[in-house]
């Protein structure tokens, strides 16, 4: 199990979560796709793809919720024959965050992933920095921030 964090306050909650939920891959990011921490990924290109796709899914489901005059969906689950994906968005003092979890049905379940997610959210809220307003992500900065994040996550 390899867990790496760009923002170190996420490390302990994420480590606990991965162990307890039996998750195979976990990505913690902002709704814009900026990665804060990851577990289980071995290639930077996979983190880039997963964060971009996860952020896009959250954006599209949030828009669907808006069209239905509903608050944004709290969670989204997609289950295959051997693996499941769970996406959830929540607020912290750091700003809104998104967690993407991939789990194997042999090792975990949607129930476990959801159960321990409540604890993860509580732990992240308790650990998140209380000061400072999250900076706006500008298109010009995004690629540089993404590269910096990937360098931190994969030690390049």
């Amino acid at each position: 199990m390899t867990i790496r964090a760009v923002e170190t306050w996420t490390l302990e909650p994420l480590t606990t979560y991965v162990t307890e939920a039996g998750a195979r891959l976990v990505l913690l990011m902002t709704p814009a796709g900026q990665v804060l921490a990851q577990s289980g990924f071995s290639r930077a290109v996979d983190v880039m793809a997963a964060s971009a796709l996860g952020a896009a899914i959250v954006a599209s489901t949030s828009e669907l919720a808006r069209l239905m005059s509903q608050p944004p969906f709290a969670g989204l689950s997609h289950q295959g024959q051997r693996n499941g994906i769970f996406l959830s968005a929540f607020d912290t003092d750091r700003g809104p965050l998104v967690v993407l979890v991939v789990y194997e049905l042999d090792a975990s379940s949607l129930g476990l992933v959801q159960l321990f997610l409540e604890q993860l959210v509580a732990d992240l809220r308790a650990a998140s920095p209380k000061t400072g307003v999250p900076k706006q992500v500008l298109a010009a900065d995004f690629e540089r921030d993404l590269n910096d994040s990937l360098n931190s996550l994969f030690g390049r």
Binding site: L105, D106, S108, S109, G111, L112, L115
Partner: protein, 119 residues
């Protein structure tokens, strides 16, 4: 399997003295299908952890060459968890949360009856 049939089955289980709650749990995803629980029992947590345990027990029993499980009884300090796998190819679990001095045989009977008739 219909919602009213499940509700009736759970009702019969929870009528046994000492039963604090009963539920039907989806074994593959660990989610609650139906429940009748007293206040203070975290149904979603019990469901997720029981389904996880079911998977591990299944692997242990297959490794030991014992076949699939029929009934589990987990005795704790202040009560017990009684579980009967049910449904087509045991896709569900019938779970009873009980007090320590419950008549286990009677609860088991009701769980098995519910597994045969309602699920």
């Amino acid at each position: 399997m219909t919602a009213p049939a499940l509700a009736r089955a759970l009702d019969l289980i929870t009528r046994v003295r000492g039963v604090r709650g009963a539920m039907v749990v989806s074994r593959s995803d660990g989610l609650v299908v139906a429940e009748q629980l007293m206040e203070g029992i975290k149904g979603s947590a019990v469901a997720a952890l029981a389904s996880s345990l079911a998977g591990r027990l299944q692997r242990a029993m297959i490794s030991a060459g014992l076949g699939s499980s029929q009934f589990w009884h987990l005795q704790c300090d202040q009560g017990a968890l009684l579980v009967v796998p049910a449904g087509a190819e045991h896709g569900l679990l019938l779970v009873a949360v009980t007090e320590a001095d419950v008549n286990v045989g009677l609860v088991r009977l009701e769980l098995l009856r519910a597994a045969e008739t309602a699920v």
